[in-house]
């Protein structure tokens, strides 16, 4: 049996077992609790689910073996990997494709399912019915089965061979057994350590949203409308942490790898996960108070359903191809849109029916909630979070609205807002200003029980934060009203949450989680405010080299468009406070810690190996000898750019461009990290070091000593000609004669010397070793010596000097954002652990009671 057949068989098997588990759990739920058959059905269901988990693991293992073993006869391996990739990037190959990412999601859900079965026997049957059903829907996405007769395909399998994936392709008719020698390779932007860990984290977050949803469904089903909260709450918190970490990793990856110049660009793909995450956060806040407040309970029910449905909706948005003209990085359409819609609507319907059925059973509040109660403020916070997510999902869904209108025969040509970043920021900024203020007030009401007439407790943090904000606004030069509002709000959240930790909780780590999380959010907002609101383009083109007859250039306001600067090789250019010099393209040898000049090696065409043209020496250590073959990252060019600061400090950055034959040019920034700011730069135009510029036709010069002549617009002077004993690359015997000429070439700011040699050996053979100067783009060859006239002749070729076009941006206080993220994660983890511990205590007590 081939690997592909094995994989496909396991997929079908896992699909069937998930259905069996669903059915068996359903039977167990429908039987009354005292029925003896319940245990039998449960045991059977559990067995089916465990087999399902084993099959899912088998599916994943098979696909990884196909990728890792370079089985390029399979379409998935061929299209997503290549031989040049190290093993950890082959993990990224696994989830680069849509099928692989579905499998990752299934895998996490399977693992979580096992944990749930083993930790919560009380809720097992109804909860796992929902759970196994979701698993069945997910498995069907990679089923790849065509229903005979109907010609309807269910799912898309990653186990197709090239021949199966391209039926009737001409190259297969010539050679049916064709197996490619190498794969297409992994998208260079995904060749990054964040892409090894970001997708698994994000999909774990996706999988986790199912857990609270399944508990809720089980609770509604068994009419335990309040009891579901207890097991669901810790899982909701965990969902919030993991999903949040996944999103933030994605942002960090984008910042480090994509030349989008930011960590967040409000792309529909980003928005599609941001929205459910906000809803998870809102849900966990209402769930905390839901036992005491009926409105919060009802809201929690809706929000827990919403967070799960929104994850399905985001999957639909990114994978159905509906975002078409609206997004940069949505997946291509695999023809699964129908199936995804079915999945989405199935769960909307199931959830609605179950909710409506028990809505009347839910308690209602007798008294109106007081403005001075903690419930009121938490509820307010949750509401603003929901409104913030609503504001994002509506414009993000514009392509969906268009499709709906068109489905009913209408014409809708709405397009997403043209400037997404400023559009969303305009709204989200105010929402978050309110949310952070509420996070501070809420904590006060929660811990201090601030009461009517005792509001002065809150006054102290208000005064302190107003004072600090005033200082920051004055000395930080904050001059825009929205920024002032956001900053003041964030400072208030910082101050009030800190006072709570110190004053009320006295640093008790078990209950400080909430406050710490809020501090993290406030820090993040401050970091975002500075690093995005006050980022500064350093690379403003001030060279005055813009010569064009177009009246366009004479317009004054056009200056601000010159955010990209052109740097000639070796020519220092002033840019803001920095003096920038482009030093040439560099290549990365896999086992050498630093980049080396491209001229040191000769890359073997179509391979990831290169031959060393000289000893590879970094500092004292010689890594490779001349003539060695080394493994390199052949497609990547790193352009060495030197930044000289006014105080003489020098930093070197290596922004990257990948020249990928199949995918075109891909650029990645390089970041110089400092304590108070990042210097972020990327190359927008760079030359491919593998494709050398062509030399111009030879020009001949005949000059006497100290003559001045013009080569390619440079002034050149023949300074001296003298005998030499050494010529690099040529072994001279005592009878050979070698002469070296010294030609001075004047560039704008500095002088260069080119020293070509001319040698005659004893057999009157002439050697003319040309000398190349890359900085000037010149090649000079010493051709002849004419003793009669005392003149020397030189052959000169010139080429376009190497240059890059780059952009550099300063991002102040970005580290505050990263510190905030870490604080947020720590606080969130603390709360999660606390709630899991509480749950375990109560559960174990419950079990003991049952035993008695």
């Amino acid at each position: 049996m081939t690997l592909g057949n094995l994989g496909h068989l396991l997929v079908i098997f896992s699909f069937v077992t998930s259905l069996v588990a669903t059915y068996a759990y359903l039977r167990a739920t429908l039987l009354s609790t005292d029925n003896l058959q319940v245990e039998t059905w449960k045991r059977f269901a559990r067995g089916a689910f465990y087999i399902h988990v084993a099959a899912v693991v088998g599916v994943c293992a098979t696909l990884y073996v196909i990728i890792y073993g370079h089985h390029f006869e399979y379409h998935y391996a061929w299209s997503h990997s290549s031989r040049a990739l190290p093993w950890y990037y082959m993990l990224s190959c696994f989830w680069e494709g849509q099928e692989g990412s579905f499998m990752l999601w299934m895998f996490w859900q399977a693992v979580l399912g096992v944990i749930l079965i083993r930790t919560n026997k009380l809720w097992e049957a109804p909860m796992m019915t929902v759970y196994a059903l979701v698993q069945a829907f997910l498995t069907s996405m990679i089923l790849g089965v065509i229903i005979p007769g109907l010609d309807f395909k269910i799912g898309s399998t990653p186990f197709l061979t090239i021949a199966e994936a391209n039926p009737g392709a001409p190259f297969l008719q010539l050679n049916p057994d064709f197996v490619p020698k190498d794969g297409n390779g992994l998208n260079p932007l995904l060749q990054n350590y964040w892409m090894v860990i970001h997708p698994p984290t994000l999909f774990l977050g996706f999988a986790l949203t199912l857990v609270p949803f399944a508990y809720l469904m089980a609770g509604l089903w068994r009419k335990q409308v309040v009891e579901w909260l207890r097991p669901a709450l810790p899982w909701t918190l965990l969902t919030g942490v993991i999903l949040g970490v996944g999103i933030l990793m994605g942002g960090y990856w984008a910042y480090e790898t994509l030349s989008f110049n930011s960590y967040w660009s409000w792309d529909p793909v980003e928005n599609a996960v941001y929205v459910p995450w906000l809803i998870v956060i809102a849900a966990l806040h209402t769930m905390i108070i839901a036992k005491k407040n009926a409105t919060a309970l009802k809201t929690s029910v809706i929000l827990v359903i919403a967070q799960f449905i929104l994850i399905l909706y985001s999957t639909f948005l990114t994978r159905s191809g509906i975002l078409g003209n609206a997004s940069v990085h949505s997946f291509t359409d695999l023809g699964l849109s129908g199936q995804l819609l079915l999945y989405l609507f199935a769960f909307i319907i199931v959830a609605t029916i179950l909710t409506v059925r028990v809505w009347k059973l839910m308690p209602s509040d007798k008294d109106e909630v007081s403005t001075y109660s903690r419930e009121f403020w938490l509820f307010m916070g949750a509401t603003v979070l929901c409104l913030a997510s609503f504001q994002v999902i509506i414009p993000t869904s514009i392509p969906v609205w268009n499709s709906i209108v068109q489905a009913f025969g209408g014409v809708s040509k709405l397009a997403p807002p043209t400037d997404a970043i400023s559009y969303y920021t305009k709204f989200q900024l105010w929402f978050f200003a309110v949310i952070t203020i509420l996070s501070g007030i809420g904590q006060y009401f929660w811990w201090k029980r601030v009461q009517k007439g005792k509001m002065q407790d809150l006054l102290t943090p208000v005064w302190i934060s107003l004072f600090i904000s005033a200082l920051l606004i004055t000395f930080g030069g904050i001059n825009k009203l929205p920024y002032i509002a956001l900053l003041t709000a964030a400072v208030f959240a910082l101050v009030s949450n800190t006072t709570i930790i110190i004053g009320v909780l006295r640093g008790s780590y078990r209950v400080s989680g909430g406050s710490i999380t809020h501090i993290g959010v406030a820090l993040m907002l401050i970091g975002i405010l500075w690093s995005s609101g006050y980022q500064k383009v350093v690379s403003l083109n001030a060279s005055g080299l813009l010569i064009s007859k177009d009246d366009y250039f004479t317009k004054e306001d056009n200056k601000e468009n010159k955010e990209n600067v052109l740097l000639w090789l070796g020519q220092p250019t002033r840019m803001g406070d920095y003096l920038l010099t482009y030093r040439g393209p560099r290549i990365e040898i896999r086992d050498v810690p630093e980049f080396v000049p491209n001229t040191w090696v000769d890359v073997i065409e179509g391979d990831f190996h290169a031959v060393c043209l000289r000893d590879i020496t970094i500092g004292e250590k010689t890594y490779h000898k001349k003539g060695d073959t080394v493994a390199v990252y052949a497609e990547n060019a790193h352009y060495e750019v030197e930044y000289r600061e006014p105080n003489g400090r020098i930093a070197t950055l290596y922004p990257r461009v990948q020249f990928n034959e199949k995918m075109g040019l891909v650029t990645s920034p390089d970041i110089k990290r400092e304590l108070n700011k990042d210097l972020y730069s990327y190359v927008t135009v760079g030359s491919d070091p593998k494709k050398a510029e062509e030399w111009s036709p030879t020009e001949n010069f005949r000059v006497a000593m100290q003559d001045t002549f013009f080569v390619n617009d440079f002034v050149a002077v023949l300074e001296s000609v003298g005998r030499t004993d050494k010529v690099e690359g040529i072994a001279l015997t005592p009878n050979d004669v070698a002469v070296k000429a010294q030609i001075k070439i004047l560039d704008k700011e500095r002088e260069y010397f080119i020293t070509p040699t001319f040698a005659i050996n004893q057999d009157r053979m002439v050697m003319r070793k040309p000398e190349v100067n890359e900085d000037l783009g010149l090649r000079v060859q010493f051709m002849e010596i004419d003793p009669k006239t005392g003149t020397f002749s030189f052959a000169v070729n010139s080429k376009q000097r190497d240059y890059i076009v780059m952009k550099a941006v300063e991002k102040p206080l970005i580290n505050v954002l990263w510190i905030g993220t870490i604080v947020l994660i720590i606080g969130f983890m603390m709360s999660t652990i606390r709630r899991f511990r509480e749950f375990r205590l109560v559960r174990d007590k419950g079990v003991e009671l049952e035993k008695v």
């Binding site: 299209s79 997503h80 297409n184 998208n187 989008f260 110049n261 409105t295 191809g321 003209n325 997004s327 940069v328 949505s330 291509t332 359409d333 109106e368 909630v369 403005t371 509401t383 409104l387 609503f390 504001q391 509506i394 414009p395 514009i398 040509k413 709405l414 397009a415 997403p416 807002p417 043209t418 400037d419 970043i421 559009y423 709204f427 980022q535 500064k536 383009v537 083109n541 813009l546 010569i547 064009s548 366009y552 250039f553 601000e560 468009n561 010159k562 955010e563 990209n564 600067v565 052109l566 995918m663 075109g664 040019l665 891909v666 650029t667 927008t684 135009v685 240059y803 076009v805 941006v809």
Partner: protein, 144 residues
């Protein structure tokens, strides 16, 4: 009226406000003729124009001009919109990296006198892996 009802009304009001503002700030998919009309009316909002690049026999894009030595921040090309109207498009940024491979592009901007000034290009490249499904790339000249 109970407090919760007032609260509910406020929330609904904000939600409606969001929907209305979305409708108001949404751009439209358009063509050069409409973009020209908008510009003549003095409208400053930006539109999306979907168009095709014309290629010559050698696969070179017609009318493409980028000379970084002269101006690294100016890139020009000719675009044929869905009504077959051809216009010059000026993009005030370096040439996007995958432009040569693109066939269909969406330009976002507004019409000037005789050219379309865009600050964002969405490129539809033939897919990286197969030639059946297109794959998207974006380039933006948005200024900070």
């Amino acid at each position: 009226m109970k407090k919760i009802h007032i609260f509910g009304l406020i929330v609904i009001a904000i939600a409606i406000g969001i929907i209305v503002s979305t409708y108001g700030s949404a751009s439209t998919y358009s063509n050069f003729t409409e973009a020209e009309e908008l510009a003549q009316e003095g409208e400053t909002s930006e539109v999306h124009v979907v168009g095709k690049l014309t290629k010559d026999a050698n696969g070179q894009i017609v009318g493409m001009k980028y000379d970084p030595v002269m101006d690294a921040n100016r890139f020009e090309f000719m675009l044929v919109d869905t009504n077959k109207i051809v216009k010059k498009v000026v993009y005030l940024s370096p040439k996007p990296q995958d432009f040569d491979k693109s066939e269909q592009v969406v330009v976002i901007g507004r019409m000037q006198k005789d050219y379309f000034e865009c600050n964002k290009i969405l490129m539809k490249c033939p897919s990286k892996y197969t030639n059946e499904a297109p794959d998207f790339k974006e380039a933006t000249a948005e200024k900070i």
